[in-house]
C-alpha cells in the first residue's frame, strides 16, 4: 500500500549495496540514508512451507504454504508509532519479526533506510540488531530471574561489545533505566526481577531495548499482561521515547482502543494483508473497510448509556493456507457482493494518508 509519509517519488529504489556480491555490509549501514522513510516494504511476502508427513509429501503434487504475510505495501516513517491491529493469526507478529530480520521474506522487497534487509551480511546483521529491538507481551518470561536489573540491562551492551569501560557501562544502564521511567535508577540497579511489580518489569525490558539507542522497537502486545493502572504508564513511556529519542515504534495490539490512544497511524491487517491504513483519528472515526468497521463497532466502551450497533462477524479468521478467492475477507464480509468472490480489491486512496482495499470503495 503506498500510504506514504514521504511521497512515493522520493522512495528510494533498492539502494546499491557496496559489496561486490550485492550484500549489504556494515559500512553501508553507516552511510545509509538519513532522510526518507525508515522502512519501505513492497509486495512483501512471508510464506512458511507446511511440514507434511513423508507419504503426503511424496504424493502431494503441490507444496502447501502458510501465507503469513501476503503482499504488504507499507512505508514506515522515522519516529512514528504505527499500530498493527487485527485478529490473532493475521500476521502482526510475523510482520514485526520480518522488520527485525528475525524472519526472512520469501517475496517482494523490504528496505531499511534504502538497503535490502534480505541482503545483509552477517556483520551487517549484527550491526542492525543494535538498531532494531523487540519487547514482548510477558515481562515475566522475558527476563532472567537470577540476574540483577543492572546485569539485565547491561547485557545487550556486552553482547554487542559497544562499551569499553565499567564506567561507561554503568552510565549507559542508568541512562536507559531513567529514560524508561525507573527513577532514580540507582534504587533499582541491584534488585532482582521478583522484587519489582509487573509494570516495573516491563520497564526493565524497555530499558534493555533502548540501551543501544535503536531506531526501531517492535512492541508485541507490550501491555496485554499488565493491569490498567500500570499499562497507561507504559503507553505514555512509548510516546515519550518516540518524542525525545526519535524511536519508531511498531505497536502490535489486538486492542484498537489502545492504538487509538497512542499511535500516529493504524494499519488493520486481515489474513496477511493490510486492508486499511491511515491516521489514527481517521481510521477510528471514519473507517471505510467493512472489516475495520466491524472491529471498531465491537470495542467495549466504559459507558453503559452508549448503546450502539455492533457488527459481530461470524466465525474466526480462517487459516492462511488455502486463501479465499477474490477478496480474502469475502466469506465473513457483511457487505459482500457477487464480484467480491472473484475480483481482488486493490488499495483505494481515500484522501490524506488514508487507504483501504475494498471493491465497494470508489
Amino acid at each position: 500500500m503506498s500510504s506514504t509519509v514521504t511521497p512515493p517519488a522520493d522512495a528510494p529504489a533498492a539502494a546499491a549495496p557496496s559489496g561486490k556480491t550485492g550484500r549489504v555490509c556494515p559500512e553501508d549501514l553507516q552511510k545509509a540514508q538519513t532522510g526518507g522513510s525508515l522502512f519501505d516494504l513492497h509486495d512483501l511476502q512471508v510464506h512458511f512451507p507446511i511440514q507434511q508427513g513423508f507419504f503426503k509429501s511424496m504424493v502431494a503434487t503441490q507444496k502447501k504454504y502458510v501465507h503469513a504475510l501476503d503482499g504488504i505495501d507499507l512505508q514506515i516513517a522515522r519516529g512514528e508509532i504505527l499500530a498493527l491491529v487485527g485478529e490473532s493469526g493475521c500476521g502482526k507478529t510475523t510482520l514485526g519479526r520480518t522488520l527485525l530480520r528475525l524472519e526472512k521474506s520469501t517475496g517482494g522487497t523490504a528496505l531499511y533506510k534504502g538497503l535490502p534487509l534480505n541482503k545483509f551480511s552477517e556483520k551487517a546483521l549484527r550491526e542492525y540488531r543494535k538498531k532494531a529491538q523487540i519487547i514482548f507481551q510477558d515481562p515475566y518470561n522475558a527476563i532472567n530471574p537470577k540476574q540483577t536489573i543492572f546485569d539485565i540491562v547491561a547485557e545487550p551492551l556486552l553482547v554487542n561489545q559497544v562499551v569499553h569501560s565499567e564506567k561507561e557501562k554503568e552510565a549507559r544502564v542508568i541512562k536507559a533505566l531513567e529514560e524508561s521511567g525507573l527513577r532514580p535508577a540507582r534504587d533499582y540497579l541491584f534488585r532482582y526481577p521478583h522484587e519489582l511489580s509487573g509494570g516495573q518489569r516491563q520497564r526493565v525490558c524497555i530499558a534493555g531495548a533502548v540501551v543501544l539507542g535503536p531506531d526501531l522497537i517492535v512492541a508485541d502486545e507490550p501491555v496485554a499482561s499488565l493491569d490498567v493502572s500500570i499499562r497507561n504508564d507504559i503507553l505514555k513511556l512509548m510516546v515519550a521515547q518516540k518524542e525525545t529519542l526519535g524511536v519508531t515504534y511498531i505497536f502490535i495490539t489486538h486492542d484498537l482502543s489502545l492504538a487509538w490512544v497512542i499511535s500516529d497511524r493504524i494499519a488493520v491487517m486481515y489474513l496477511g494483508k493490510i486492508v486499511e491504513i491511515g491516521e489514527t483519528e481517521e481510521v477510528v472515526k471514519n473507517p471505510r473497510h467493512p472489516y475495520t468497521k466491524a472491529l471498531i463497532s465491537v470495542i467495549p466502551v466504559p459507558d453503559p448509556t452508549k448503546k450502539r450497533e455492533r457488527i459481530i462477524l461470524k466465525g474466526e479468521t480462517p487459516n492462511p493456507i488455502d486463501l479465499p478467492t477474490g477478496c480474502r475477507f469475502h466469506p465473513r464480509c457483511p457487505e459482500c457482493m457477487d464480484i467480491c468472490k472473484e475480483q481482488t480489491p486493490t488499495d483505494i486512496h481515500l484522501g490524506g494518508n488514508h487507504y483501504a482495499a475494498c471493491l465497494r470503495l470508489p
Partner: protein, 375 residues
C-alpha cells in the same frame, strides 16, 4: 435443549411477560445475598486477607459484574461462594445466602447438591487447561454423568445438545482441545457450566485471553443464554468496559474489599468512590476525545499486611484525617448505590468499636489457628 425443557426440569414456570417478571422479583428475597464475607489464605508468614468483608446482592435473572485490578480478590470471592477455595484458603466469617440458605455454613455434602446444579462456574484460564489428550466432548460428559447419574448414551446426547446451544457444531464432539480455536474452547467451557441446568453461572474472566471479535461473540452468546435459560450471571473481569456493556449491576473491588456497588449507570455515570473514578478514567473511550488515559500512581497493598483504615489511603489523592486509622463502611448513598469511603460519612464511635472488636476477634482466632497448625 430448549429453554422450556431447561426450566421445566427445575419446575420453574414458562417465560412470563417482562412486567410480571419484575413484579415477581420484588417479592423474592433475592437470589444471592453475600454479607460481609471474608476469605483468607494461610501462608507461613501469616494470613493473606484476599477477601476481607464483601457484601452484595443479586436478583434472579440479573447479571452482575465483579471488577477490579489483578489480585484484588475477584477469583477468591467467586471460589468462596461455591466453596472451592484452594487447600490453604478458608472462609473466615460472613454469610453467602443463596435462596435464603447460608452456603458458608454448608457441609461438603450439602454443597454437592448446589454446586453445578444451582450455581456453576467457568474458571479463569480453564479453556487453556483442558486435558490435551482427551476429547473435548468426553470432558464435558464426565461432570454430567457424575452429577446427573445418567447413562453414557444419554450423557452423549446431552453433550450434543449443549454444543448446539453454545454454537459449536455437535459433529465436533470428538475433537481434541488443540483442534479447537480459543473461542471454540471457551464455548465448550460454557457448555460444561450449563450441563446441570444451574440458575446462577459465575464466569471468571471468560473473554480475557480472546480477540475483540471473539470476545464480542462470547459476550453475545452469554447474553442469549441468559435470556433463553433465565440465568443469573456473575461476570468477573478486570475490564470495566466489558462490565459496562454487559451487566445490570457492578461491584468494584479494591484490595479485598468492595469500594462501590450499584447499577452500571450509577457506577459509570455517577461514580463516587475516588478509586472507582480513577479506574474508570484509565480505560480509553473511543467515542470521546482522543487523549492519553490516566493511571493510578502506586501499587495495591500487600494483603498479608494491609494498611490500617482505608485500604486505598496510600494511593488516594483525597485521603484525610480518619482515612489512615478508621476503616470505612459500605454505605447506601442513594437507592441501590453503595460506597465505602469517609467522604460520605465517617462511621460513629459505636460502629467503629464494633468493627475493631470484630477484626480483633478474627485476628485472634486466626493466630490461634496458625499456632495450632504449627504444633
Amino acid at each position: 435443549m430448549s429453554a422450556a425443557t431447561a426450566k421445566a426440569k427445575k419446575g420453574a414456570p414458562a417465560a412470563k411477560p417482562a412486567a410480571e417478571k419484575k413484579a415477581a422479583r420484588i417479592e423474592h428475597p433475592g437470589l444471592l445475598d453475600v454479607r460481609d464475607l471474608k476469605a483468607y489464605f494461610r501462608l507461613s508468614a501469616g494470613w493473606v486477607k484476599a477477601v476481607d468483608g464483601i457484601s452484595f446482592t443479586l436478583e434472579p435473572g440479573e447479571s452482575l459484574g465483579l471488577a477490579g485490578e489483578s489480585g484484588c480478590g475477584k477469583t477468591t470471592a467467586a471460589t468462596a461462594l461455591i466453596k472451592l477455595l484452594p487447600e490453604n484458603g478458608r472462609i473466615v466469617s460472613g454469610e453467602v445466602l443463596f435462596d435464603g440458605i447460608n452456603l458458608a455454613k454448608r457441609t461438603e455434602f450439602g454443597m454437592s447438591k448446589i454446586r453445578w446444579k444451582e450455581i456453576s462456574m467457568i474458571f479463569q484460564g480453564a479453556m487453556n487447561a483442558l486435558n490435551p489428550v482427551k476429547e473435548v466432548g468426553d470432558q464435558i460428559i464426565e461432570p454430567i454423568r457424575l452429577h446427573d447419574n445418567i447413562g453414557e448414551k444419554a450423557a452423549l446426547a446431552r453433550a450434543k445438545e449443549l454444543f448446539e446451544l453454545v454454537g459449536i457444531n455437535p459433529k465436533r464432539i470428538g475433537e481434541y482441545p488443540h483442534q479447537m480455536s480459543g473461542g471454540m474452547r471457551q464455548r465448550a467451557m460454557i457448555a460444561m457450566a450449563l450441563a446441570c441446568n444451574p440458575r446462577l453461572v459465575i464466569g471468571d474472566e471468560p473473554t480475557t485471553a480472546l480477540d475483540v471479535m471473539v470476545q464480542a461473540q462470547i459476550l453475545e452468546l452469554i447474553e442469549k443464554l441468559r435470556e433463553e435459560l433465565d440465568l443469573s450471571f456473575i461476570l468477573i473481569s478486570h475490564d470495566l468496559s466489558v462490565m459496562a456493556e454487559t451487566c445490570d449491576k457492578g461491584v468494584i473491588m479494591y484490595a479485598g474489599r468492595v469500594v462501590e456497588s450499584g447499577s452500571v449507570e450509577q457506577i459509570f455515570n455517577n461514580a463516587e468512590h475516588p478509586y472507582t473514578r480513577r479506574l474508570i478514567k484509565s480505560f480509553p473511550n473511543i467515542h470521546e476525545k482522543r487523549e492519553m488515559v490516566s493511571s493510578i500512581p502506586g501499587d495495591p497493598p500487600n494483603l498479608l499486611y494491609p494498611p490500617p483504615g482505608c485500604n486505598f489511603s496510600p494511593r488516594c489523592e483525597r485521603c484525610f484525617e480518619p482515612c489512615t486509622s478508621v476503616e470505612p463502611q459500605l454505605t447506601e448513598i442513594e437507592p441501590g448505590h453503595f460506597v465505602s469511603c469517609h467522604l460520605f460519612g465517617v462511621p460513629d464511635q459505636a460502629t467503629q468499636d464494633a468493627a475493631s472488636a470484630d477484626v480483633a476477634a478474627t485476628d485472634a482466632h486466626l493466630a490461634a489457628a496458625l499456632e495450632a497448625e504449627a504444633q
